[in-house]
Symmetry: C2
Subunit: 336 residues, 2 copies
DNA sequence: ATCCGAATCTGAATCGATTCAGAGAGGTTT
DNA sequence: AAACCTCTCTGAATCGATTCAGATTCGGAT
């Protein structure tokens, strides 16, 4: 048995219009009516039908968040930041996880479009500009998260990954490391290539003879880090790098784990490791992990705030917000 | 500019009914019509209006998942399992994070009710039976995740936390520990009390003189673990327990971190630590963490499968699915 | 007594997809 | 040729909340 606004109106002895007004502009309704309607709603257990509301009003109080990797604590923190800000505006965040899968990414974007969300936050994997452009033409605002919008068509909130990559490798070089390996992938993820580009800059600017090699991983999980570690360990010892820059903390933790189990190489004595994100588990690692911190909650909060502004103001101009990364030094990169 | 089904019909030279049929029962429409309509849809960039669809048809192809703690990798794994299963049925999972906040829990349940999702998965924090009962009467199926439904009114998928708690403490006792502390909270979370109850059973059954004390935490995060560790470290050394059973891995990681920084007590020589969940970071911890593994993805997959079955069959009978926990022994509980 | 404006309420029209009774075309059986 | 199917299509009615032009009420001003 479904309770509709009509049932509430009958029970309260008013018209449907008045019930709707109680729900949406209570100040324009007499206190007595508000009271009667409220009582009727409670008595009947009425819940607004969001479909009807959206159909007629054309707006929604939810925003969507399409996340690249739901297992990654960094993105969870970003989502948390967005939720905090959303809650303050009486808005709910629904999110969908794409797991670096192009087709799922499309599915979720379409889903949120069908749902006519108020706006969409997205940490994109593939090239989604075409789809996002369509959302825009439909009046659904979009903000890119953790990804700079190269062509400036969309607002974005991110951290400068090139600078972060440079900071990481400069730190390694300053603490006396020479043979540096970048561990990460896949290379169609922008964050990966940016961090690597930063690393390259640092090596080129170095006054000493530091070298950089690249160890590719299939994805950015702990398991991929373990696998990369095993691959490196299969080499003769004299071929080993003396520092590893992991594309994110998950890979770094995997590397750490692989080395700890093997036992021949000690961190940081033989090998330094630095990660990226400074997620909640970096400090609790086998060897506390140096990392490049991203202000994750702040990214989420800011992205949501910009999203709401754009949703309310149709012809606002896209803007790029870039936060600085921050070097966090822990035991894993202590000098020998 | 919004493209409606009417525009598509006009462009394809058919009626709106035919367009709808192409979308929903293509086999009942001539191939020629399917073709014309498909072309028109592509040309116009038409996307179904989900609100109108839901309003009329009353069904939806999304399920909601209300999660207790979005930062916890364990729940992320469960969600991932649910998503995998959902994807196979062409269904999308939208989730909302309550962060152990009663009011947010209510908000999300109501939100999903308003949205008329196909079904709802929930890892509940407070007592939500009343609200869930209402969903049920509205025809929205509900499955509890990570929580046994005591009164059997709802289907549930969980791991036996009492058994898990017992396994953890039996393991500690078998490896020679005597003064055991349970670290966790708050005690209105069912999982916490169950795990503690299991621990009590193990201590009572022990042939030796093992003791159990309780160290309460405000929540179940790494930070709470660090705080609990600090509280314990403030005690005189002879008052220290020789084993810690943390209510989940996050707390355990926090404890490990607090002890490592302090440095006076070595894990596992002076203190053993065991966690619960066996999340992705347990193995990569400062000292690889023993834990009670829950089959997280399987929980998510199973919960979603049951949810869809119940959503399709209105008068199916609620059933409780309980998976066994599994003891995973790592360095943090090695005997002295 | 009449008029005015403000406050409040009413109820029909509306949003867009789905549904289904009924129509039309074309073929087969008797 | 009539009767009967089958296949396919049409278009009006429908879902429930919102909106807004118009109605009603009432205290105060003229």
């Amino acid at each position: 048995m479904v309770v509709s606004i009509r049932d509430v109106a009958t029970r309260a002895g008013v018209s449907v219009g008045t019930v709707s007004n109680v729900l949406n502009r209570p100040h324009e309704v007499s206190v007595e009516s508000v009271d009667r309607v409220t009582k009727a709603i409670d008595a009947l257990g009425y819940v607004r039908n969001d479909a009807a509301r959206k159909l007629r009003a054309g707006v929604s109080t939810t925003v969507g968040f399409v996340v690249l990797d739901g297992q990654n604590p960094f993105y969870n923190e970003v989502v948390r930041g967005a939720e905090d800000e959303a809650a303050r505006h009486g808005i709910a965040v629904l999110y969908g996880n794409t797991d670096e899968d192009l087709s799922r990414e499309k599915v979720y974007i379409d889903l949120f479009e069908e749902q006519q969300v108020r706006g969409l936050l997205i940490a994109p994997y593939g090239d989604v500009t075409a789809r996002l452009q369509r959302l825009k033409s439909r009046g659904i605002a979009t903000v890119l998260v953790d990804r700079f919008s190269g062509d400036g068509r969309f607002s974005s909130v991110s951290v400068d990954s090139v600078v972060g990559g440079r900071m990481a490798v400069e730190h390694l070089i300053e603490t006396g490391r020479r043979r540096i390996a970048f561990v990460g992938g896949p290379f169609d993820i922008r964050q990966v290539t940016d961090r690597l580009a930063g690393a390259r800059v640092a090596v080129e600017n170095a006054t000493n003879t530091a070298t950089l090699e690249v160890v590719a991983t299939a994805a950015m999980t702990v398991d991929d880090g373990v696998a990369a570690g095993a691959k490196l360990l299969a080499r003769p010892m004299h071929d080993w790098p003396d520092a590893l820059f992991a594309a994110n903390d998950l890979i770094a933790l995997g590397l750490l784990q692989a080395l700890a189990i093997d036992g021949r190489l000690i961190v940081p004595e033989d090998v330094a490791i630095i990660g990226f994100d400074d997620n909640a588990f970096a400090a609790a690692a086998a060897v506390p992990l140096s990392s490049i911190r991203q202000p994750s909650r702040m990214i989420g909060r800011t992205a949501l705030r910009i999203l709401l502004e754009e949703a309310d103001d149709a012809d606002s101009i896209a803007r790029q917000t870039v936060f600085p990364p921050e070097l966090v030094i822990r035991a894993s990169t202590h000098p020998r």
